[in-house]
Amino acid sequence: MTVQELPGAGASHRPTPPPAWRPRTDAAPLLPDPEPYRVLGTPAADRLDPALMRRCYAELVRGRRYNAQATALTKQGRLAVYPSTVGQEACEIAAALVLEDQDWLFPSYRDTLAAVARGLDPVQALTLLRGDWHTGYDPREHRIAPLSTPLATQLPHAVGLAHAARLRGDDVVALAMVGDGGTSEGDFHEALNFAAVWQAPVVFLVQNNGFAISVPLAKQTAAPTLAHKAVGYGMPGRLVDGNDIAAMHEVLTEAVRRARAGGGPTLIEAVTYRMEAHTNADDATRYRGDAEVEAWKAHDPVDLLERELTARGILDEAGIQEARDAAETMAAELREGMNADPVLDPMDLFAHVYAEQTGRLREQAAMLCAELDAEGDA
């Protein structure tokens, strides 16, 4: 039953109100396709760009190795915590690859890999999770906002930054990443609404990996898809297979192009799966069965691309080995970087609270300094 068919709806006694808002003129459809968009394994794969796909493959292999190395570092006590993106590498890599230098990435706490794929030094990307400082890089230098631990709170930042850039006449797009759980947060709603009203050049990428820690999507939302949420804000919603990097790249590229051209924001839901636990502190066997995990293994993002590219003769054994070797080199460098004990200056605690230290902070800094001197003397 449509709204028009509801009893009483559209009754002639109801006066037609004057138009109170500007009608939407963008031709892009708001409703997402019913099925996630796919390229790999479909006729659309005929138009794959071999050079781009080889690069995607190398990045995927590197990303998988990065996940494995970071997870190993938690077991060695080198990282306090690591939220793995095994299974989600296609989303992370595609998000990084579609951005120009001047664009901005707004990652969540799980999106270290996207930051690394954008070119951030892997050790710098992990300082938050190692515990030596919250953000180990200058966000302005890399155009990567600090990894946001509070859920969805970085989305309005992306909107504000993109809006500011546009006010200044700069060609900048912001891409903001959030998980399926984050779409329930108020900041998600406020960010999408602001972005649509302001027609800000923002792309919202939701990685629907099935669970918010332990809570499955069915308990998170009653919407048909998360991409449907776009409709209420007046922006296009796109549903895409998050394990298909060719599809991810295509859909993200289109959304970035649209934002850059002044077409406003897009909401993309990437349907993917978190193959590992939420973090090393989580026991995923308490809330999901092996069969489900096994089923997703058959839809692995690295395997999907490798099969397609080898079948098409775009990738051969030598190319695969080259990608694996490069990933091993990265892993070795990451191990080496993370095994060096960081030297921290306790006085840094007071260095960056305000531009100018308050009297109270100077007093407390002096107290700590005296304590450190006493320790040194002991």
């Binding site: 966000p139 906002a145 709170t153 504000g160 809006h163 500011a164 006010l167 900041d187 305000y354 531009a355």
Partner: protein, 339 residues
């Protein structure tokens, strides 16, 4: 000191309200610095429900004075992104209790961004919050929420009590490279003083308290909406033989301990006065610091006159809640400590 040049001649001075001084401060800041942007619900066409942003959208355009969707977390969150890109947003939270949806943005991001990026990304955001009671406002329109702000490291918290300070402190806040909670005592919006918008008086910037009235027998320590009440109480106390000094803190973070301590050491007695709830309120912190630093100078314990520890009362009862002259005088009388 603020960047505003001191202009001795006040020949152009005429009665001006605090509201006018605040508007002028934003106007001058916007005229001088194209990165200053005003944003919030109703700030554009309407000029704000208190008309504090009146005329700014007309003069500087809707891109510089922007009516936003009604969403405080979104307003402040967007301001964070704008500041990340080099703008200086001046955000209006329409009323004290309307700011609470923005607290996560405030505490998790605004207050911490400089710290978590080791100084690489300071956020020069000014958050204007009309606060306090005494205007007959209904529920959620009269909170004194300063305790929440002062408990959050990384924020400056200031509050003017005079027309001069409204202008000077707001200019200093907008010029600050750190986020500032600018608490506007809404019941003083229409208080008047001789003030020249063409030649604003230079006032000390953030972090400096001022002695508004000198006296010898006790110090009243106060700020914002309670300053006029304290000055009135000080006048009334003369009849009782009390010569009260009144210190206006102006800035709660940083807290100008030295000015307060110097005064209390001289008078030997102190009362802290504010509208906010007493328990865990700024007065508790101030009393503790005064006691620590003035113990041997004190003739009596540091006392407090504050709002009761209750949710803000309905307007017909607020006069019983707000610290008034009588309650201040009764408390001052208790400083004649005999124990």
């Amino acid at each position: 000191m603020t960047t505003v040049a001191a202009k001795a001649a006040k020949s152009g001075a005429k009665p001006a309200t605090m509201a006018q001084a605040l508007t002028r401060a934003m106007r001058d800041a916007m005229a001088e610095d194209p990165t200053v942007h005003v944003m919030g619900e109703d700030v554009g066409t309407l000029g704000g429900v208190f008309r504090i942003t009146d005329g700014l959208a007309k003069e500087f355009g809707e891109d510089r004075c922007t009516d936003t969707p009604l969403a405080e977390a979104g307003i402040l969150g967007a301001a964070v992104g704008m500041a990340m890109y080099g703008l200086r947003p001046v955000v209006e939270m329409q009323f004290d209790a309307f700011a609470y949806p923005a607290f996560e943005q405030l505490i998790s991001h605004v207050a911490k961004m400089r710290n978590r990026t080791r100084g690489a990304m300071p956020l020069p955001i000014t958050i204007r919050v009309p606060y306090g009671g005494g205007i007959g406002g209904v529920e959620h329109h009269c909170d004194s929420s300063e305790a929440y702000y002062v408990a959050t490291p990384g924020l400056h918290v200031v509050t003017p009590a005079t027309v001069d300070d409204a202008y000077g402190l707001l200019r200093a806040s907008i010029a600050s490279d750190d986020p500032v909670i600018f608490l506007e005592p809404k019941r003083l919006y229409w208080s008047k003083a001789d003030w020249s918008p063409e030649a604003p008086t230079a006032v000390p910037g953030i972090g400096k308290a001022l002695v508004r009235r000198t006296g010898r027998s006790a110090t009243l320590i106060t700020y914002g909406p309670s300053l006029p009440v304290c000055l009135e109480a000080a006048e009334a106390a003369r009849e009782e033989g009390w010569d009260l000094e009144v210190v206006d803190l102006r800035s709660l973070v940083p807290f100008d301990e030295d000015t307060v301590v110097e005064s209390v050491r001289r008078t030997g007695r102190a009362v802290v006065v504010h509208e906010a709830n007493g328990f865990g309120g700024p007065g508790a912190e101030i009393a503790a610091r005064v006691t620590e630093r003035c113990f041997h100078h004190l003739e009596a314990p540091v006392l407090r006159v504050t709002g009761f520890d209750i949710p803000y009362p309905p307007p017909m009862l607020e006069k019983h809640h707000l610290p008034g002259v009588e309650r201040i005088l009764d408390t001052v009388a208790r400083l004649q400590w005999e124990n």
